[in-house]
């Protein structure tokens, strides 16, 4: 698909036009998460990243799956139509390449091809919401997207991938929807030149260098197979206070719980985020707990992302966004964990 450029001072007009068709969400001014906005200049603010990844726009912290009502005639089960999960036409603007890559990883997990069943709630939210990405101007402390094999900084996994070239944005349409989004900016875009493309590639390559610590994210997969019984897990997990922040704020974590709530004869079933870092995550009613200590839970978290899911999908489930590094209350650093594991001797 053709590439475009748009002058920076024209970009807000493009978003304003899109705002007539879509409810635009962009990184909120408080830095917490994506928020509804009509500030089309601020939407493309280039620095930082939101604390909460945009996954919650597609996979909310809590989501009703069905409602029920018990009566004389038995139980009435009412489906919550998956399409009703998103009622407005949304557009996400300013998603960072790491988070865009994470969405494409979640697409796989929630697909039919992955486990034989498609998740209709995730899919309908995803289908209803195009994404415009923007490469960051500066990495944050703890960012290591440059080491994440699945993150394309130049051409992020979005409908339109933007890269700031100084006085203009490079805009690559990566899907038909992306083409339509650019078409809405009729008269504002020009075709990208080879020089623009080179400039884009150079900026992305430089950013990769700045966010790379040469962590062997992909290579660890084979190594981890021999480390399941390593005493290192115990050592590395000692500080963990089981708060679950690392996984709640991880853009690729997707584990959830399903619960019922009822008052009297009526109630609803919902799913909500859960984490393998909680003690009772795998606790069975019989009292058996295959992941009873912090060491087993850290192993699950690391191996799930870097070995088990890669075995299933051939993709690495860490995008180097650095949230778990920045926001862990006790300073556990996944980069150190990865480094320690990569030099460990197999048991």
């Amino acid at each position: 698909m053709p590439d475009y450029v748009i002058a920076k001072d024209k970009a807000p007009e493009w978003l304003r036009r899109l705002g007539e068709k879509y409810a635009v969400y962009a990184p909120g001014a408080d830095g917490m998460g994506f928020a509804r906005t009509t500030d089309y200049v601020g939407a493309l603010a280039p620095s930082g990243n939101t604390r909460r990844p945009p996954k919650e726009m597609f996979f909310p912290t809590s989501q009703t799956l069905l409602t029920f009502k018990q009566g004389e005639q038995g139980v009435e089960i009412n489906e919550v139509a998956p399409e009703s999960a998103v009622t407005e036409r949304r557009l996400l603007v300013g998603v960072r390449p790491c988070d865009a890559a994470a969405l494409s990883l979640l697409d796989v997990v929630f697909s039919e091809q992955y486990s034989g069943y498609e998740d209709p709630f995730y899919r309908s939210a995803r289908t209803a919401t195009p994404v415009i990405s923007l490469l960051c101007a500066e990495p944050l402390e703890g960012c290591f997207c440059g080491d994440a094999p699945g993150v394309d900084l130049a051409s992020a996994a979005a409908d339109v991938a933007l890269v700031d070239l100084g006085d203009r944005y490079f805009a690559e349409a990566r899907s038909e929807t992306g083409q339509e989004l650019i078409a809405a900016g009729d008269g504002l875009f020009a075709a990208a030149s080879d020089a623009d493309r080179e400039a884009r590639d150079k900026i992305a390559a430089d950013f990769r260098v700045r966010t790379s610590e040469s962590l062997p994210l992909a290579e660890l997969r084979e190594k981890l197979r021999g480390l399941h019984d390593s005493p290192l897990w115990q050592q590395l997990s000692q500080k963990c206070v089981r708060c679950g922040v690392c996984s709640f704020l991880c853009p690729t974590c997707h584990c959830f719980d399903i619960q019922d709530e009822a008052i009297g004869d009526e109630g609803y079933r919902y799913r909500c985020w859960d984490t393998c870092q909680f003690t009772d995550f795998a606790l069975m009613t019989s009292g058996e707990n295959p992941r009873r200590d912090a060491a087993a839970r850290l192993k699950q978290r690391i191996c799930h992302k870097l070995e088990y899911l890669p075995d299933r999908t051939d993709m690495i489930y860490c995008v180097g966004c650095g949230r778990c590094v920045r926001l862990c209350p006790v300073g556990m650093d996944v980069r150190e964990t990865i480094e320690e594991l990569s030099v460990a001797q197999a048991e």
Partner: protein, 278 residues
């Protein structure tokens, strides 16, 4: 069978009959409220289902009836936690939800022509029951069938009327034992694993299928290995904590394998290849 468009949506089902098996286990005979749910529910021995008690929650249970006797499903439920306790309060005529069939199943076609050795402990007979009755209903397809079953006490043996029927059949052998007997118990007293060793089944053309408490399974596996059974000849069905049942919610994995979609049935070779925690 076409996949449901919303795999989180259970079908309403009615409890037809509740049978008390042991002081803590009941069997629920369940019939779908809608004909197309009943007809569309194509299950095989080894499949499980998510059972809903609305307002309390959902929990996974193996289906222990056999598809060769259609029209209903049976679940045997031991009173353990919230959902199981709520099930135990339910009576005939009340309504639950059923989502499934889920998971893989016993490879009963591959077993054709083989001798079958079923080894169960306690409530672990439940998943085996479906396969045993399936094979008995297709008796000509299989060789010799032996069932070894034990429980802590005579009162803890499940499916007693069925055990009597199996014991009376000439085309299979039932070997019962209890960990501790009582005055009325005339049968064997002792654990399951030594009984298997004592029976000394030939490994030739035999598949051993086992389910029970972890300690029993461990010792049975050792015993079978000593008898020369290869890992491929030993099949078991696993339990892990599950929620979604469709490979999304991320808690029931053993290594890369999700027990809810890739299991719960594994042979020992597959289990060993998974490594990681069991």
């Amino acid at each position: 069978m076409p996949k449901p468009s919303n795999p989180y949506l259970p079908s309403p089902a009615r409890i037809e009959e509740v049978r008390v098996e042991t002081p803590d286990t009941k069997t629920f005979k369940v019939v779908f409220c809608e004909d197309d749910c009943r007809d569309g529910f194509a299950y095989r021995p080894g499949h499980f289902a998510e059972v809903s008690v609305f307002g309390v929650g959902e929990a996974p249970f193996c289906i222990n009836s056999t598809p060769t006797r259609p029209g209903f499903l049976e679940f045997s439920i031991k009173r353990m936690g919230r959902v199981t306790s709520a099930m135990h309060e339910m009576m005939g005529g009340e309504q639950i939800g059923v989502r499934g069939p889920l998971g893989n199943s016993f490879p009963v076609e591959e077993w054709r022509g083989r001798k079958l050795l079923f080894i169960g402990g306690g409530i672990g007979l439940a998943p085996l029951r479906s396969a045993i009755n399936y094979c008995l209903d297709n008796r000509a397809d299989y060789g010799e069938i032996n069932v070894v079953y034990g429980a802590r006490s005579p009162a803890d043996l499940v499916y007693k009327p069925e055990l009597e029927q199996w014991g009376a059949r000439s085309d299979m052998k039932l070997h019962l034992t209890v960990d501790g007997g009582n005055e009325e118990w005339k049968g064997r007293v002792g654990f399951v694993p030594p009984l298997v060793t004592e029976l000394g089944p030939s490994r030739e053309d035999t598949i051993a299928i086992t389910c029970g408490p972890p300690i029993m399974i461990r010792l049975v596996l050792q015993g079978l290995a000593q008898l020369g059974f290869s890992d491929e000849q030993i099949v078991t069905t696993l339990e892990m904590r599950m929620k979604c049942g469709i490979g999304k919610c991320g808690r029931c994995n053993i290594g890369r394998s999700y027990v809810c979609v890739d299991g719960p049935v594994y042979n020992l070779a597959q289990l060993k290849a998974l490594g990681g925690e069991h």
